[in-house]
Amino acid sequence: MGNAHSWLTAELERRGVSRREFLSFCSTLATALALPASLGARIAEALEHGEKPTLVWLEFQDCAGNAESFLRASRPTTAEIVLDVLSVDYHETIMAAAGHRATAALAGVVEKLRGKYLAVVEGSIPVADDGVYCTIGGRSALEIAREVCGNAAATIAVGTCASYGGLPAAAPNPTGALSVADALPGLDNLINMPACPVNAENLATLIVYYLTFQHWPPLDRFRRPTFAYGKAIHDNCERRAHFDAGQYVEAWGDEAHRSGYCLYKMGCKGPVTHQNCPQIRWNEGTSWPIGCGHPCIGCAEPDFWDKMTPFYAHLPGVPGFGLHTNVDKVGALTALGVAGAFAAHTVVQIGKRRWHERSAAAAAAPKSPEKGGRP
């Protein structure tokens, strides 16, 4: 314990982070999680005195965008400590060992820390044709996922591909790509952290939450933590006032665009997308997609590549432009509407079938919020 404590203190010093700043970070984290600020001290204690839990990061049909995103964790000095507080024993993008020495490291974790380590999965899992579309060390992604996630204390699906199948699973889903939930039915303790890629801030927060409380935060019906996915982008959008006032961008670069008016007519999917982008933004709070002038493409929602496209077609069904629009109503109408527009294209059939299957599966699945609980 003392060793861990002095290690963290030394690391904080090396990074020029004062004790006060560290505690302030922990309180901020508590606030982000909608917890009483007094819990900041408890978070700090867990970070300082906990053993370094082991985490393995698996990449399947991925682009490494989530791995890259995690390297961009905001509040840099402290968020990176969150990285260091874990022992990342397997991560193909950054690990020194290669080949059988790498796979041996993974096997060692599964064997020695059965039921105690965290597994992160990035990328979808292709199950068609015996899994030949993704092999690592000669083994299929599905076989690896079964073994590693099946023996983990918990699995975090990062990014939209692992959470929902994502781009590889978009119609016509050539490789039978599945989300972790669909590839490993019955997997307990699975958390989905969608978005393309996951926002590093949210992932860091989730891990700290788990280390602090030893259980997961409340989840919604898509197994997403509500602290990050509980509200529609539209609800917190800095351009919302322009939507309510009926002030819209009509053409790229027009005066309304330069003035930061609402991007609804340019195709914004903010009304039907649930994520906290407007609050935490990206890259140390520097900006976010709508902030830079481009509509939201709905990347945190299931099947967004099929249901939110064409990206520049505006959402139908908004009952007039103006005050007091019921966003939930908008949401209910729109996803169907965009999919309907897309049905003009031939590729939609398989996507729709997959959607119905998933809907049925979601309805049959146990409601997940119970997995969380109060601190």
Partner: protein, 568 residues
């Protein structure tokens, strides 16, 4: 004769497997195999071509801008949209910052551990490390106390017994040649570079909303409005922020990356004689300096054959073909064919072993990558190709820096055709681009001052303004080399989409004539002291900066269902 298999090759993007024959301590033959396939081009069929950039962008989250750029250029080329000057400048800034950040991450976080022994750093004397650092650079973080702090942090990390991503590696391997002090300095800069990259890439957040997967792209221009008088646009405040980030970036590159590169390289000069590869280099060129299709390019296009720097051949996209004789695809007209991307077809047909497997049948098909050829020949693409073509074309700044680096290391231009040459060229390019960025920022600023606020060609936004049928190609020099997207549009939707990617050029398998691809050829002759620890093999493979998710792609030109894979 020993068969060495490295799978997964780590510290890369994507899933790569290398099999090599080692005889008498040297690689005598090698096979490069990509083991993951998604089929993104198939997913693109029938979609709005204005959406394609977001789909293709997700091919890779490491080089997260490159497929977006190539895609919007391809569609613009097809429909005749002309992005205005501000969009060109914003794109140049985004592309250059991607290159700078990506190369630094590659050097420190993906490649350094092949040259730097972290455990050896524990034996370093902080005072001597400080003296070493101060002898090669005036970078301020160089005191004895600073390096003592890094060392004690490392000491505690190792003593805790949880080495995390540094566990199970090749520490103590006799191919590691750096003294402990150089290792400690490199470890310190590994950590600094982690912080630096996160800060520097905020340029992408300012210009594109976020990174990875920035979102400010549009067919016909950019979605980031510019206006000096508005808060919601790129204004003088954002330009100043980008200027600060560029300056900090340039400082890090010139005062940390380049001195480290020279210091490390001076201990590994024998690597200037390994990893030569195919000796043919292809560059499509990038960074338009003016508007319109015939713009002058800051980094010129060109082709070099047989390591001959005296003759730069003009680059001609018609000379590109792709082979699939050793790839898990089939061609309707037979697998010995070589097809140009516009005629390209891709029918995945897996014929490798059923997983789990130990060995691939490398006499047959063995990779999800195709084998691109130019004028029938395998070509290397990437920073080395770009710097060689620029050097041979008389690019002033590139010539200065290449000559400077060669002089510092005391080697001649022939040393460039090597593993070490790739490492050096990547560093040189990083500095060239970090220095150049400020010119484009000044130009953007001048446009704003003049009242030129255009960011988009609205005239071609609506599909009604497009021809019924159109084809286009988008060229781009990605961090890892020449990239091209080929699109065919019919009735407002994508009829065909084909991508020829840097890592396909470099990591592809043998062609129909049995000629090796660049990775495979570069491995021939590489020493391997211990087949159980093929560290040297990783050095050469990593010198190409593999990005395998990018390399694997598929398109069925005629719109048929993908053939069901057959498993032997």
């Amino acid at each position: 004769m020993t068969r060495v298999v490295v799978d997964p090759v780590t510290r890369i993007e994507g899933h790569l497997r290398i099999e090599a024959e080692v005889d008498g301590g040297r690689v005598t033959d090698a096979w490069s195999s990509a083991t993951m396939f998604r089929g993104i081009e198939l997913v693109l069929k029938g979609r709005d071509p204005r959406d394609a950039w977001a789909f293709t962008q997700r091919i890779c989250g490491v080089c997260t801008t490159v497929h977006a750029i190539a895609s919007i250029r391809a569609v613009e080329n097809a429909i005749g949209a002309e992005p205005p000057s501000n969009a060109r400048l914003l794109r140049n800034l985004i592309i250059a910052s991607q290159v700078v950040q990506d190369h630094v991450i590659h050097f420190y976080h993906l490649h350094a551990l092949d040259w730097v022994d972290i455990v050896s750093a524990l034996a370093a004397d902080p005072a001597q490390t400080s003296a070493l650092a101060q002898s090669i650079s005036d970078w301020p973080l160089s005191s004895t106390d600073y390096f003592a702090g890094v060392k004690s942090r490392l000491q505690e990390f190792v003593e805790r017994g949880q080495l995390g991503p540094f566990g199970n590696a090749y520490w103590g391997h006799r191919a590691y040649a750096l003294p402990p002090e150089a290792n400690l300095m490199a470890v310190a800069h590994y950590l600094e570079a982690l912080d630096w990259q996160r800060d520097f890439i905020r340029i992408h957040a300012v210009l594109g909303g976020k990174n990875p997967h920035l979102q400010g792209f549009l067919v016909g221009g950019m979605a980031t409005p510019v206006d000096p008088d508005r808060q919601a646009s790129i204004n003088m405040t954002s330009i100043q922020l980008v200027r600060d980030l560029i300056e900090k970036g340039r400082d890090f590159v010139s005062k940390v990356y380049i001195p480290d590169l020279l210091a490390v390289a001076s201990f590994y000069k024998e690597w200037a004689s390994y990893g030569g590869g195919v000796g043919n280099f292809l560059v499509c060129g990038d960074y338009p300096e003016d508007d319109g299709p015939q713009a002058r390019l800051y980094l010129p296009s060109g082709v070099l054959f047989d390591r001959d720097l005296s003759r730069v051949h003009p680059f001609d996209g018609d000379q590109i073909t792709e082979h699939i004789k050793h790839s898990w695809y089939t061609y309707e007209g037979g697998d010995d064919q070589a097809l140009h991307p516009y005629q390209g077809e891709t029918r995945p047909r897996y014929s490798g072993p059923k997983p789990p497997y130990e060995r691939l049948d490398t006499d047959a098909k063995y990779s999800w990558l195709k084998a691109p050829r130019y004028d029938g020949r395998p070509m290397e693409v990437g920073p080395l190709s770009r710097m060689l073509v620029a050097y041979a074309s008389g690019h002033e700044r590139v010539r200065q820096l290449v000559d400077h680096v060669l002089g510092q290391l005391g080697v001649g231009p022939a040393a460039l055709f090597s593993t070490l040459g790739r490492v050096a060229a990547r560093g040189i390019e990083t500095l060239v681009m970090a220095e150049k960025m400020v010119d484009w920022l000044d130009e953007l600023s001048a446009n704003l001052t003049r009242g030129d606020l255009r960011i988009h060609d609205n005239s071609k936004w609506e599909p009604a303004s497009w021809p019924r049928e159109a084809t286009g190609v988008g060229w781009h020099e990605a961090p890892r080399g020449a990239l091209s997207h080929w699109v065919q549009i019919r009735d407002g939707v994508i009829a065909n989409y084909q991508i020829v990617v840097p890592s396909t050029w470099n990591a592809g398998p043998r062609d129909a004539a049995g000629v090796r691809g660049p990775y495979e050829e570069a491995l021939i002759g590489t020493p391997v002291a211990d087949p159980e620890q093929p560290l040297e093999l990783l050095r050469t493979i990593h010198s190409f900066d593999p990005c395998i998710a990018c390399g694997v792609h598929v398109l069925d030109k005629s719109g048929r269902e993908v053939a069901r894979a057959r498993v032997q």
